[in-house]
Each structure stands twice: as C-alpha cells, then as structure tokens.
Amino acid sequence: MMSMIRVSTKINGDAVAFLCETDETLLDVLRDRLGLTGSKEGCGTGDCGACSVTLDGRVVCSCLVLGAEAEGRAIGTVEGIASGDTLHPLQAKFLEFAALQCGVCTPGFLVAAKALLERNPDPTESEIRFGLAGNLCRCTGYDKIVRAVQAAAVEMRKG
C-alpha cells in the first residue's frame, strides 16, 4: 500500500483537511475523496480544461496538480461560485444566453471565465477567445459562451 499524506487546505473559503496518496491528483481528491464532482475529467492531460479550479487565485487544471501540492493553498471550484442561492453573473448569463448544451464543460468554463474577468474586467472578444482557449466545448461552437461572458463582464462592471 502506498503512503498516504495529510494535506490541510482551504476549499471555497472553508478549511479542509484530507488524506491522499502521493501520486493522486487534486482532481481525484476533489471528486473521489471530497465529493466535489463539479470539476470534470475530460482528458486527464491538461488539454480540455473541464477540471479547471483556482489555486491561490490562478486558474489551473486540477488534473495536473498533485493533491499534496495543495498544502496550505486556497482552492476555488465551481461549487463555490454562487453565493448561497444567488447565482454569479456568469452563471446567470450562461443560462440566459443558452451558453451550454450538454453542460459538462460548463464548470471549467465558469471557473476560467471568472478568473479571466477578475484580471481583465473589460476583455475584447479576442481576449475572451484566447483566454478561454484551454477550455474545450464540443456542443456550442463557443458563440453563445463568448456572448455570455461579454454580457457578464458588462453586468460585473456595473458592480
């Protein structure tokens, strides 16, 4: 049996400690040990972005982070985007603009788009497209996703 190690971290603002194998990814920990299945595994190699989470404020592919690396770090997942029963403007606009069809890439897009708008509140269409190029969607052709992010940006700038 492999050696389990103990990791203390903050997930969506709450202190969380967990035990994991040394070679276990943060994605495996979130999904299989903590029951946070909102983050999806689409490829396991950092090519699709469905597992996007924030690590100390930067968006990463949680399939390319070891659970052990999370020690002392702050993690943000799709489960933490809404506050209570109030949707984040991005979530609301994704629904309003029909920016999802199957919805499996949506959590990754929301996490990545939120990080994008926090760094760049007024992105051009091109900045949105390149900023979200690490998130694959096979259903929508991206059109409605880009429009939803643009609309959310306007909403968020209004504050």
Binding site: M2, T22, T25, G46, V59, V60, L66, A133, G134
Partner: protein, 286 residues
Amino acid sequence: MRYEAPTTISAAVKLLAGKAGLARVLAGGTDLLVQMRTDRIAPDLIVDVKRIPSLGAITAKAGAFRIGAAVPGAALGENKALRRAWPGVVEAANLIGSTQIQSRATLAGNLCNASPAADSVPALVASGATAVVAGPKGRRTVPVEAIAVGPGKTSLKKGELVEAILLPKRQPRSGDAYLRFIPRSEMDIAVVGAGVNLTLDRKGVCIAARVALGAVAERVILVPEAAAALIGTPVDAAALDRLAEAASAACRPIDDKRGTREFRVKVAGVLARRAVAIALQRARGK
C-alpha cells in the same frame, strides 16, 4: 512514490542525490504529471521545488534578470521590466499551453523537459540565456543550449537541478522575437519554432545576431549560418532570403502527426524571416 517539498536548494539537492531510485523535480508539473498519467514514467521520488523561496522570484540586477526555476509563465507576463527587455522570451513562454498551463509551467521546466519543440527554448537560446545548475558539487552556470542533449534527455547529472535562468542585459538597438507554427490558434505543440535576437549599429547594420530553431531536429538548435546571413547587412530582402535558406538548410526534422519533413523545412525559413522582421522593429525601437 515519495513526495517531498524542501524549502532550501541544499535540501532539494540532497534528496535528488539520495539513493531514491528514479527522482524527478516538480516545478509546474505540466509535463511531469502528464508523463506519470500516461505511464511513460513512474518516479520513486518527487521533489516539489515550489516551497524554495528563491526559486519563485524574478530579480533584476544592472539590467540582467534572474528567473527562479519555479516562476510560472503567467508571472513572467506580469513582469513589465522583463517584458520590455526580453519581449521575445516572454512571448515564447506565454505561448506554452493555455491560461491554466501558464499558471504552472516554468522556463526551467520547459528547458529540462528537453522537448525539441519546447516554445521558450529557442527564444532563450537566441537571447544568450544561461542556466544556473545546483548539484552535490555546488553550482555551475551553463548556456541553456547545453542542457538538452536529445528528446527527453538532459546533460544534468544525478542530484542536479536547474535553479534559475539568467537573461543578460538588453543591448542598445537590439531586439528579440519568437514565432512558432501550430495548426490551431492555441493549445498545440510547435510544428516549427524560430527565435531571434539581433543588434544593430547606429547605421542600422546588424552587428550581432543569434537564430535558434525548434522542432526541426532532435533538440533545439542554434543556427550560426542563419545569423551570419544577417550580420554585416542592413537586414534587407537579400539578407532575409539568405537567412531563410540557411534556416531551412539547418533542419533535420522528422515526419510525424504534427507535420511532414518538407513542411517543417520550408516553414522554418518562413518563420525565421518573420521573426527577424519583428526583432528588427524592436531593435529600431518601433
């Protein structure tokens, strides 16, 4: 598998030098974790170097830069001074993967992964960058082109790791640039990459140049013949033609899923020419 996150270089070196079987350095992990996941490598020990403070810092002294081995691409892009001095290097580093990858991937990792297609390496080679290597016998500084010896193979000895990348002071009337060719607009591995750094005299004649190519040989190659085509010229059309020819002539690529041999040879010349045009603008201060 053992996971360690030392807080000093000496501790990291001790771990890597220990009899731990296969040991690997973990910086951004964007290559290492993929190799583990796809069963290409099964390390016995992983040394996470991100807890070593000096490895996470970019420091500037007298115009030269020291970039810690754990600094992610995103942080390079956020450093205005570095971007102003070495736009080609920063752009090359920022081309690696997605925003998500940029939050993790490092210059040192890109260098030590020793992929012939590594985006930041041709730019680093062209810039004349050096790597600070820490090991059981102390520190040594080597040109970055001396690190990779073949696909996935480096000249690092057991117990050694790259601690930092050093970029020289930006010379007056000089500029650098990196361009790569990929089929998509993002998310691909370079099919061809071209890095250029050149310096002009007051009359606009090229007095120094370095041209490096990626993905056209078993490792990133420095192409002196291509540089020679520029040196002593005003970098005019004729010089650019000779540069493109020299660049293509230096290629010894493979045929694979990413491109044919013919394609790589031709596009190497095209990219070298286009990269020089950008570097030239920068050298002219435009």
